[in-house]
């Protein structure tokens, strides 16, 4: 990994929330990087801290959330140290975001075209006519049929799939270097999901945009990602290149996650499930956080394991990695 | 019995942990206490006229006398005692009228929202008609023709304001009935009446409480307005005291000011307590 290739580097990120019940640690000591043009997926269940991680990068945490420690270097600048004004320039311009529910991120009383145009005019010095043409090109690029018509439509008239395409077009409008997509297809039908995922993939390759995909669905990961970060209860538990994750998962949680996904291509007589639930951030166990749900936990697991590099680029947070456990449970 | 005590203690503890809630509770308890024991607390007879002591300022001002803490009105009646007695009727009117309005409005809102269709249109047109006529106008009309006694007054204000409950409850029910737990009750074979009472009513209570607290406040204000117009309950109320004092604002400002302060503090107390109650009644809050 050459230093110059790294686009985003998150180091020891710690994000806490102040609630009535006290301070809730949501993200603890998360480190990862994204190279230029790379497609990285963060996988985890709800409560794993994956969305908080992405919001921390964008510095879009709600008032109660606070980054306690760590650094987020983007193109050589530490985002945590930037002023709110400089951060605004980064948002949308260099890092764009696509959310799960596009309807709530679009202004309902403004046509789709105008909204995208506005963001172009805000971030670029260009004339209105040029901007309009740019918008139509963008809509075309994300596979919207008859873009002129969609340009002058209001968001509620579009289907969920169309709205998500519009969101992607908007994200692309300022030629960002990184798009953070937070569960972009969870609210959509499978057929539309497949379309959106191929658009994201194509765009990333054509425009050389890096993508940070946040999802709970390993199928989506298998379709898109180059590298995978598995999060559990606010920590990174495994991080590796995509084929290593699918062929040689090391952390019991990753293995269980893979085994509990219903698959179309194999006959499954039994679906292995992970019993129990992710511990709530208020009652995190002191040792390994997966301890209660793990089939292999032993005495040593009562102490916190470190994230260790086992082979090149493959990191695991588990005591049992050294002790050989079978690849397929 | 023992569990009752326990829950009472739990509530008390929860109340203690909220600053605004406790403040509201203290205000309301004080007002209710003074209202209940007015005859013991009031230092003077409220009707006792003493023209020698007419229009005395509060005791701490020049010319004030120590036995008339808040001063006297133009007939020399003790203002402090009158404000204390005024709390009785004001509270009674405020609370009873709200109960009357709630008893009419809540069931209509539930039924209207749940059944929809013709029943809904029927009730909602009545509501529209009711909104179009100001409460004061209804009260003027009815109380002008009938004998404006206390019960009549409460009924009129209640009947004139029920629609607020009907509207709030109806709109809550409209969104609640789309929730799957209502569907679940229906597929179980639960009767509509039971769905209304067991599933919908408990889920609208918090909004009803919020509306009620605001209504108690507005009712106290309506009562003062009507008293000012001479149509209030023929009794000593804060509103009546306020309107008495209005003509003398320039010379004896205290006659109108102290009942006004009493109204403000009471209304504030009710709103604070109502706010706290709404939070507590929401099952999400006590984990």
């Amino acid at each position: 990994m050459k230093e110059s290739e790294v686009l985003l580097e998150v180091k020891n990120l710690k994000t806490h929330f102040n609630t009535i019940n006290g301070v809730v640690p949501s993200v603890e000591d998360v480190s990862f990087y994204i190279n230029k043009g790379e497609k990285v997926a963060i996988v985890g269940e709800s409560g794993s801290g994956k969305s908080v991680t992405s919001l921390s990068i964008m510095r879009l945490l709600s008032e109660t959330g606070k980054i306690i420690d760590g650094s987020i270097h983007f193109c050589g600048r530490n985002l945590i140290e930037l002023s709110e004004k400089d951060m605004r320039k980064i948002r949308g311009n260099e890092i764009a975001m696509v959310f799960q529910e596009p309807l709530s991120s679009l202004n309902p009383v403004m046509t789709v075209g105008k909204q995208i145009m506005e963001s172009i005019l805000l971030h670029q010095k260009t004339r209105k006519q040029n901007a309009k043409q740019q918008v139509i090109d963008l809509l075309n690029k994300v596979g919207i049929p008859r873009p002129e018509k969609v340009f002058s439509s209001y968001p509620h008239l579009l289907s969920g799939g169309m709205r998500q395409r519009v969101m992607i077009a908007m994200a692309l409008s300022c030629q960002p270097k990184l798009i953070i997509a937070d569960e972009p297809t969870t609210a959509l039908d499978v057929t539309i999901q497949a379309q959106i995922l191929s658009i994201l993939k194509e765009l990333s390759e054509q425009e050389e945009v890096a993508i940070l995909l946040i999802t709970h669905d390993l199928g989506v990961v298998a379709e898109v990602a180059d590298r995978v970060i598995v999060m559990y209860a606010g920590q990174v538990v495994e991080q590796a290149e995509i084929f290593s994750i699918f062929d040689y998962p090391k952390h019991p949680y990753t293995k269980a996650l893979l085994n509990s996904t219903p698959k179309l291509d194999f006959s499954q007589t039994e679906l292995l499930s992970i019993e129990g639930t992710v511990p709530s951030p208020m009652e995190i166990p002191t040792g390994c956080r997966f301890y209660d749900r793990c089939d292999f936990s032993s005495e040593i697991c009562k102490q916190s394991p470190e994230l260790k590099e086992i082979t090149d680029g493959h990191q695991v947070r588990c005591w049992l990695v050294e002790e050989a456990i079978d690849n397929r449970i | 019995m023992k569990t009752n005590q326990l829950t009472f203690l739990k509530w008390l503890k929860m109340l203690g942990s909220s600053k605004t809630g406790s403040l509201g509770a203290i205000i309301i308890l004080t007002v209710t206490f003074t209202a209940s024991f007015a005859s013991f607390i009031a230092p003077h007879d409220v009707y006792e006229v003493n023209l020698n002591a007419a229009s005395l300022p509060p005791s701490w001002m020049d010319g004030g006398e120590s036995q008339y803490v808040l001063g006297t009105d133009r007939l020399g009646r003790d203002l402090f005692s009158r404000v204390i007695y005024g709390s009785q009727i004001s509270l009674l009117v405020g609370i009873s009228a709200v109960i009357v309005a709630g008893v009419i409005g809540v069931p209509i809102g539930l039924i209207s929202g749940y059944y929809g269709g013709f029943i809904d249109s029927f009730f909602m047109r009545i509501v529209d008609a009711n909104i179009a006529i100001p409460v004061i106008l209804i009260a003027l009309f009815v109380l002008g023709f009938l004998n404006p006694n206390l019960i009549m007054f409460i009924l009129v204000v209640g009947v004139a304001t029920w629609y607020t409950y009907a509207r709030v409850v109806r709109s809550e029910v409209l969104s609640l009935k789309e929730r799957e737990f209502i569907k679940a009750a229906r597929v179980t074979g639960v009767r509509n009446s039971v769905i209304l009472i067991r599933h919908l009513l408990p889920n609208v209570t918090s909004s009803v409480i919020v509306v009620s607290t605001l209504s108690v406040a507005t009712t106290i204000i309506i009562e003062s307005s009507l008293s000012f117009l001479g149509l209030g309950p023929k009794a000593i109320t804060w509103g009546a005291l306020l309107s008495d004092g209005r003509d003398y604002l320039a010379t004896s400002w205290w006659i109108a000011t102290f009942p006004g302060i009493a109204i403000t503090i009471t209304v504030l107390g009710i709103i604070l307590l109502g706010d706290w109650l709404r939070d507590v009644l929401d099952p999400h809050s006590h984990v």
Partner: protein, 344 residues
Amino acid sequence: MPLNKDALLQVKGVKKYFDVSEGIFTTKKKYLKAVDNVNFSLKQGEILGIVGESGCGKSTLGNLIMQLENPTEGEIIFDGIELSKLSAKELRRKRKDIQMIFQDPYSSLNPRMKVFDIVAEPLRTHKLASGTDLKKQVYDMLEIVGLNNKYANRYPHEFSGGQRQRIGIARALTLKPKLIVCDEPVSALDVSIQAQILNLLLKLQKEFQLTLIFIAHGIPAVKYISNRIAVMYLGKIVEIADKEQLLSNPKHPYTESLLYSVPVSHPKLRSNHEQSKLTGEMPSPVDPPPGCRFHTRCPYADEKCMEETPDLIETQDKEHYVACHYPLYRERVSNSDSVQAILD
């Protein structure tokens, strides 16, 4: 398609049209054809999966079976009785035998009721148990669905999505119904929790000999749980067959593309899906296309498909019904063996 007389449930020519005419003065009526002439029957102990995109009418079909809505036309015969002919009182009694599990565990439980009361409500409503007997039955049921009965006095918001779904399942099971309609019961859950709930449903199905209708938009879950699968498109069943049969030999082009839309289970399989992915979106059910409703998105459609509506007819394979003028006769590329070959 012929209906089985001994079936537990028969759905005969069921239609549900919603009036969506605009304005008061328009004379021309507009209908949203949510369910348009659906026929199928369900044997005791069977698990039928119903899949389709949102707006295909699968949830409306579930509501019709549950008698939450009345069909515009057609009959729903359950246990030999036509449900729409029952009086309100008889229907309430009959509901004991048909229960439902809902999609959203956050909205399907009354936030103001304790878990105990939620699970006990069906028993109380039908006056089947009271006092200690009721308590025992509720506690047993909680245990069966994998919840500790010390939770009985808590409110729903204290539970996670998966646990809430278990409460919903316990509520549906207390009456020992013959049929349970599951309306997307796992779509709102995390993948690892989905597996828990699917396994629980399968276990309960065996234990109580339940008959299940499992409505979902994702094929993998349906594939795992059902014996038979029906694919719906714009209010119609386009294909219905035994699970293995449907997955390995999909005959309707829509079924085929639906299968190819499912995300791959391994990154190595990425490329061999691309070509058959479905383009475009489902047209509005208000003005469905004439002829075969899928012709606007179908790669094989010709003029016949634009004019004639295909009937749901049995193919050469027994019990495999398809509504297509040109059913496909080929094995799907990625069946287990070939996939295994790619992976090895």
